[in-house]
């Protein structure tokens, strides 16, 4: 416990928007959002064995420098950077793909083979490797493999399509699981807050409404800090 560091988890963010429906207006002062949660900055909850495995994987190198550069170039063609969030390189996507390739060996042939295949195509068509080809020519190489027929299982589609789909999947997952990507997406969760229902404008947008009878049974968030007591029939008194 020596690394224990107490923080006050008081960030409410836009969760408060949902509170227009019922009572509980001043949640920022709510002591229950200030429950102490200890965190250790340098861990993400690994067992010693799991940490060891991560360290072992970090010692290995799957892609050479050229391949990593090609991955970086390709990922930015797939998802071009955009202000103010940035793009795959700033989201550390190439290193993420390097790690995943080692963590999931079944992906290695598609990734390594796909990169060589892409360079071969670029050399055949334009006399240079993919990463050095101008964007317009890169697009000419990618257009035939960038789309797939959703009705056909991926594993029976051509290597080019499989490779590009995998690269697109890993690029998007790498970007949207990064700090930048989460901000871009707008995800507001993973922080202490008070859930008090869907905001009215969202209900209106999607054409649904709360049933007042149902809502009457739900938690009154202004009283959630009061210890529960019931009568003998299970009716909540507090």
């Amino acid at each position: 416990m020596d690394r224990r560091e107490s923080i006050k988890a008081l960030i409410l963010g836009t969760g408060a928007i949902g509170l227009g429906l019922q009572g509980c207006k001043n949640v920022n002062d709510d002591p229950l959002l200030n429950q102490e949660i200890a965190v250790a900055e340098t861990y993400f909850g690994r067992t010693p064995e799991e940490l060891e495995r991560i360290e072992e994987l970090n010692e290995e190198q799957l892609f050479n420098e050229h391949e990593l550069e090609t991955i970086a170039v390709l990922s930015e063609v797939i998802l071009p950077p955009k202000e103010p969030f940035g793009g795959p390189i700033e989201a550390d996507v190439p290193n993420f793909i390097e790690f995943i390739g080692k963590d999931m060996p079944k992906l290695q042939y598609t990734l390594l083979g796909g990169l060589m295949w892409l360079d071969h195509e670029a050399n055949t068509a334009f006399g240079t490797d993919f990463k050095s080809t101008p964007l317009e020519q890169q697009k000419q190489l990618l257009d035939p493999i960038a789309y797939y027929d959703a009705e056909i299982p991926m594993k029976v589609q051509s290597l080019g399509i499989q490779f590009f789909s995998l690269m697109r999947n890993l690029t998007l997952t790498g970007y949207y699981t990064s700090e930048l990507g989460i901000k871009d997406l707008g995800y507001q969760g993973n922080q202490p807050n008070v859930w008090d229902g869907v905001p009215q404008d969202v209900l209106d947008q999607h054409g649904v409404a709360y049933d007042p009878e149902w809502i009457a049974k739900c938690v009154d968030q202004s009283k959630r800090g009061v210890i529960a007591e019931w009568d003998e029939n299970g009716n909540l008194l507090t």
Partner: protein
Amino acid sequence: MQIKESPDVYDVIIVGSGAGGGMAAKQLADAGFNIAIVEAGPFFDPADPKTMTQLKWPYESPRRGAGTDRPFGEFDMAYGGWQIEGEPYTHTEGTKFNWFRSHMLGGRTNHWGRISLRFGPKDFKGKTRDGYGEDWPIGYDDVKPYYDKVDKLIGVFGTNEGLPNDPDGFFLPPPKPRLHELFYIKGAKKSGVPVIPGRLSMLTKRINKDRGVCFYCGQCSRACAVYADFSSGSCLIFPAHKNGGKIRIYVNSVVREVTTNEEGKATGVSYISKDDRKEYKLKGRVVVLAASACSSARILLNSNSKQHPNGLGNSSDIIGKYLHDSTGASSACFVPDLMNRKTNYNEDGVGGMHVYSPWWEDNSKLDFPRGYHIEVWGGMGMPNYGFGFNHNAFNKFFGLKTGGYGPQLRDEVKKYYGSVIGFGGRGEGIARKDNYCEIDTTTVDQFGIPVLKFNYKWSDLEVRQAKHMQDTFEEIIHNMGGEPIWGGKPGKDRDYGLETPGNIIHEVGTTRMGNDPKTSVTNKFNQLHDVDNVFIVDAGPFVSQADKNCTWTILALSWRASDYIIDQLKQQNI
């Protein structure tokens, strides 16, 4: 190698620290007895920052949450999984059972879904109800007082609906439905499928000064650092210890067998320490097994002696028989009316369903017995590994191309974010003698302990129930204006998507209770018929599973058995 014997004699030795073991530890320690808990895994406290995964971001991990180390994703709080290195299990050819084990203090209660459903009156009387299986030797009225006490001690939200087979209780108020749940309510009601607030053991309201209150991060599967959900360690074992209870926890200790004396009575357990791979013995007046239905069966079957040549408590030859898991079938759909969502609010909610559908049909009009309930999921969850895969696959429903690259990918990701709703049907399969686990005499684990061999097959009854689930899902999807995904509705060739036995992680029935020692392993107080100082308080004594999840009943029956043990110890009967 010499087996090391501890000179201490415990009043009670409890094997396993999940729901059943935790409750027994709490009750027996509160009653003043001297307790040893023997746990196969390490110590675990949800509040320890070193092991905590709650509120972690995907980018804190190089694999962004992928499930390489842990089958439900690397932030899930169960150590173990479907396979554990060095601790195999085997199958009779042509049969299958997937066995999920979690070796750590609190066991599987650290990551479970917290769906906390009481069994109803019909659920204890299966044979009377429809001729299948067997009746329990007890009924709802025997268990009701314990369900009431469990509700109050641990906390569960829900509502009193007055339903005949989904009993009322002492509920905390439920959270309001999320957007996708409002869509589900609308779609299900159109088909006459009832929907009520979920019943989950998370504290939407304070129940005492020691535990926190839910702050709606939606991460109960990561175990709660403020103890606002139920885990056996944080809600039972630690409070019992704090109360001044005499509890010693032996961690990393794999129980090999229950030891017995010349009279055939239990004297304690022998275990192997994972730390030094040596065998030790503990002595106790009473042994309580709570290692999981299959693990407890394995320990008993491996406890052979002159007095118990067929395994301890197995004169009936019933141990391991009647193993059953919940049935399960799932579906998911894309709902166009859920596209283009505003993301400017946090809808994580509690870590599970705010609404669900209890069983509603009349089986006399159906071609299968027993029912199922429907669990619902969806919403704008935290991105983790896999987010953005086939990001515009739903384009196909609009006749648009799938795949591509370029700036529009960002718009497509946002357009479809939060537009999927999923369903899980979780039902009751019939307990059968020919579905069982036994000792595989050809295989031992890394500690030299003979392993389990499984033999399990669904019957047509369960397959027909799965078909009913899929038909229901299809109708609800249609009512919501949705499009089925995951390759559409599975047909007869795939048993209508019926999950492999074991996949729902509700293993029960291996040491069933009953009044007749020839056809059951324990009596109605979870006490072995053959040996009066050995009890089983996991789901092994379940006669049938019900269309409910098993944990709340494990807790109630463990408390009930503990009261009986206290009484018997005080009377010096055991």
